[in-house]
């Protein structure tokens, strides 16, 4: 009963957002039904589009799965963008450093590097919170900026493509060797290894959270740090590891964005969204939309992925700016976040009505 209501709230939020979107299309003088059809067609119409949707969903899912870890431990991680960049930088550096390594060795190595890079970028605000009481919302946001500047510096200097040095100086690395590309699952398709890796990661996060002592401690600390501490659980260590693991998964998203891309290189436009596509933020939304449950984050990420790819077709078919899709995205965020309130309220109401009233 409670679970059913919990699931219906985000769906209601999505429906409401779509209705707003339809009204906006109407105001632009177009047919909303055609708009919806274009989105669906753009996201799922052909095998290629389906693959593109899955690829777009992958970083969202990785970030989102990480977010569920942090939020379950009651730490708020807004640092997905920075952690993606840190993972991408370290893994790209590894690939540049040992270009000749065989694929079977190189891919695991860059994945590891991405996990470590993102993990460190997450563990830093974790340690600051645990040992110096620095608010993690502030520190993760600031570390996003630090990561962007670090990327700008590295891609303009030490890691720049040698060809660019004397010419246009575009801030990007050289194209990585083909043995560094994530293997595709179907020949001729964009569907690459990152997709099953992300799904596997979400499942592993679920198992970690609910079936291992580590997840048990994280959740205990998240619910009641005082009781956890009195029971001998280190609140500090668990805060660091929650943010560290959360960051590591975002770092892995950075690996997928570089090594799964067609250009096979890391390139910056001076901000972060040019590289990450805002996956570090959208992943939070996907996780919230999935009720902070790692398994529900899988379909939720695919929904947002399809919205992103569908928007391209919307633009092409109806000449509607794809900013509308971004607005739609924003609307869903708004509704989900406010509906989270609704859900908390529902929870409280249900708890009360289910408990035998001890009217003291």
């Amino acid at each position: 009963m409670k679970r059913l209501l919990g699931a219906s709230v985000p769906l209601g939020a999505a429906l409401l957002a779509f209705m707003f979107g339809a009204i906006m299309i109407l105001f632009l003088g177009e047919d909303p039904i055609a708009g919806l059809r274009a989105i669906i067609d753009g996201a799922f119409g052909t095998g290629d589009r389906l693959a593109a949707t899955a690829v777009r969903a992958t970083p969202l899912l990785l970030v989102g799965a990480g977010i569920t870890i942090a939020f379950r431990a009651s730490v708020i991680n807004i640092g997905g963008e920075g952690q993606i960049i840190a993972g991408a930088l370290l893994s790209t550096a590894v690939a540049l450093w040992i270009p000749g390594t065989p694929k079977v060795l190189l891919i695991p190595l860059v994945i590891l590097a991405g996990l470590v890079g993102g993990g460190i970028w997450g563990a830093i605000p974790g340690a600051l919170k645990a040992y110096a009481s620095v608010n993690e919302i502030l520190s993760t946001i600031m570390l996003n900026i630090v990561a962007i500047q670090l990327m700008n510096y590295l891609l303009r200097g030490p890691m720049i493509d040698p060809i660019e040095v004397g010419t246009s100086r575009i801030p990007q690395t050289q194209r990585l060797t083909d043995n560094a590309a994530l293997p595709t699952l179907i020949d001729g398709s964009r569907l690459h290894l990152g997709v099953p890796i992300a799904i596997l990661a979400a499942v592993l996060v679920y198992i970690m959270l609910f079936r291992t002592p580590l997840g048990f401690r994280l959740r205990a600390v998240g619910h009641n740090p005082d009781a956890a501490r009195a029971a001998g659980i280190s609140v500090e260590k668990n805060i660091v590891s929650a943010l560290g693991m959360s960051g590591a998964l975002s770092g892995l998203a950075g690996v997928v964005l570089v090594f799964g891309s067609e250009s096979l290189r890391l390139v910056t436009d001076g901000g972060s969204a040019g590289f990450t596509g805002s996956a570090g933020f959208n992943g939070i939304v996907a996780a919230l939309f999935g009720g902070l449950h790692p398994l529900w984050t899988i379909p939720s990420s695919f929904l947002f992925g399809s919205l992103l790819t569908g928007a391209t077709e919307l633009q092409r078919a109806l000449q509607i700016p794809n900013a509308l899709a971004i607005a739609l995205n924003g609307l869903i965020v708004l509704f989900v976040v406010s509906s989270d309130r609704v859900r908390a309220w529902l929870d409280r109401r249900l708890d009360k009505s289910m408990r035998p009233g001890d009217a003291a």
Binding site: I207, R211, T212, P213, F216, R217, R219, A220, H223, N224, D226, A227, A228, R229, A230, A231, G232, I233, S234, D351, R355, D358, A359, A360
Partner: protein
């Protein structure tokens, strides 16, 4: 000479779906007396009072006020008939002043303009008459719990209550505040007010009441007076069987000192010294009780022993000769400490966790609960079921959220978890505060059993009866110091009470 009672309730019956909350209950209250309703949680006390206050309609029965059949259909009509009620959860608006809160719901003597100055004057008058000392102009949020309660009492007196109901008023008060409240209530009865006092604390009931009515499972199990009865008899009537208020303690030879505190000094939350130079040994096979009014350093002492609060330089804490002065909670537990914290929902259990999860809070990482890296839920279930059965924790299932259990059952759950590790030292703070008599009896018997098996137990309690019933040795804390240590045989309640009040510093 026979008075007409102020209130009489006759044959009141009230059912909720599936629960018979009041079953043919009759009792009466006279002017100028405190009549206590005594009963365990769920006995039906609040329900009966809500009927009196017009919040519930009885299925059958009759209420008479001053001899006349009264029809009380709402709190407003109750107030009109001069019945006042202080609910356990206060009904005050924190952002308003005392006077504004009192005036809420009343019509102004000046029609559309407020008459807060009149209200304030009257509050000051009432406040002086009963020694309530409440400033009518102060915002309610600035008041302590005890002061807010007095505002509730003033609200009732302002409305001219002749019959005042107080539903578990002492549950939220410190012992000093309780003493103050009792003085106020006595002044009110002297002025002719009839008071219905609800509690399940035996010593309070015996101290304050003129008459006592005991309820169990919605039924009256006895009418008595303090002169005619005893703690033991009241407890038996409440629980419905013979209760052991103080468990039998066989003689046990003292073993070595297992827990040692030396020169223990600890800072409190505000940075001032909360514990000063405490020296104490607890031996295998003894229960040492720390008596004292709360706020005299007991909590800080407990937290330091548990590894939750740092000790000052020069202090030392050890268990079985392992130095734990700077140890983490994990290390103190590894050294053999079990800790039953004072605030069970804050420090003792994770409310959102299932019963089984709280049972595993300490030893969840042990290999016996896992298959490889993953939890073995079948084994965990068996283990938890065993603990729940052994400690008779009443819960609908192992998956029930812990916060929905009663206080007594949560405490039994914590005890089950803490005793399961076969500790060498148990530190139990207020182990039975707010717990039903039946559960308290069980928890006491478990502590004594552990003592008999050679565990060293340090028990902190504000309840002198609990200390006298359980401890082999008693230490009194006052203003952070251990001011007195006596063997149980040589301890008297009076002497301990004096030491707790700081009267005799001779340690």
């Amino acid at each position: 000479m026979e008075h007409t009672p102020l209130l009489s309730m006759h044959n009141i019956t009230k059912t909720f779906p599936g629960v018979l909350a009041n079953d043919d209950v009759s009792f009466d209250v006279r002017n100028g007396e405190v009549h206590t309703l005594l009963g365990e949680n769920g006995a039906g006390k609040s329900t009966l009072m809500k009927i009196l206050f017009g919040l519930y309609k009885p299925d059958s029965g009759e209420i008479r006020l001053r001899g006349e059949v009264a029809s009380i259909t709402s709190p407003t009509s109750a107030i009109e008939q001069r019945v006042g009620m202080v609910h356990q959860h206060f009904m005050l608006v924190p952002t308003l002043t005392v006077a504004e809160n009192v005036a809420l719901g009343l019509t102004s003597s000046r029609g559309f303009r407020t008459d807060l100055d009149v209200v304030s004057d009257r509050i000051t008058e009432i406040s002086e008459q009963y020694g309530l000392s409440v400033d009518p102009e102060i915002d309610v949020w600035k008041l302590s719990v005890g002061e807010r309660q007095r505002v509730e009492i003033i609200k009732a007196l302002y409305r001219d209550a002749e019959l005042l109901v107080l539903d578990e008023p002492t549950a939220v008060l410190t012992p000093q505040e309780v003493a103050d409240l009792f003085v106020i209530l006595r002044q009110m009865t002297d002025a002719g007010t009839g008071i219905i006092f609800i509690s399940h604390k035996l010593h309070e009931v015996l101290e304050l009441s003129d008459r006592i009515t005991v309820l169990r499972n919605g039924r009256v199990t006895g009418h008595t007076t303090p002169a005619e009865t005893s703690r033991q008899q009241l407890a038996d009537m409440m629980v419905g069987r013979e209760v052991k208020l103080a468990p039998d303690k066989p003689h046990v030879d003292l073993g070595l000192a297992r827990l040692r505190l030396r020169n223990l000094s600890v800072k409190g939350d505000r940075g001032t010294m909360a514990v000063v130079d405490a020296d104490l040994d607890v031996h295998a096979g003894e229960i040492v009780g720390i008596a004292g009014v709360s706020g005299n350093g007991q909590r800080e002492l407990a937290e330091t022993v548990a590894g939750l609060r740092p000790a000052e330089a020069g202090s030392s804490v050890s268990i079985d000769d392992v130095d734990l002065t700077t140890a983490t909670p994990a290390r103190t537990r590894a050294a053999g400490l079990s800790y039953v914290p004072e605030e069970r929902m804050k420090d003792g259990a994770v409310g959102e966790f299932q019963v089984s999860e709280n049972l595993l809070l300490i030893n969840h990482a042990e290999a016996r609960f896992r298959r490889g890296p993953l939890f073995d839920f079948a084994k965990i279930r068996d283990h938890c079921q065993e603990l729940v059965d052994q400690f008779s924790v009443k819960t609908p299932s192992l998956a029930t959220p812990t916060s929905s259990l009663s206080g007594g059952n949560i405490q039994k759950l914590i005890m089950a978890r803490e005793l399961e590790s076969k500790p060498s030292v148990i530190l139990a703070a207020q182990p039975t505060r707010g717990v039903d008599i039946g559960a308290a009896e069980y928890i006491h018997s478990q502590l004594v059993e552990q003592r008999n098996e050679g565990v060293a137990i340090l028990m902190i309690s504000e309840d002198l009866d609990e200390i006298l019933g359980l401890a082999d040795r008693i230490a009194v804390m006052f203003e952070g110091r251990i001011v007195k240590v006596v063997d149980r045989e040589n301890a008297t309640k009076e002497e301990l009470g004096l030491a707790m009040a700081g009267a005799e510093v001779d340690a």
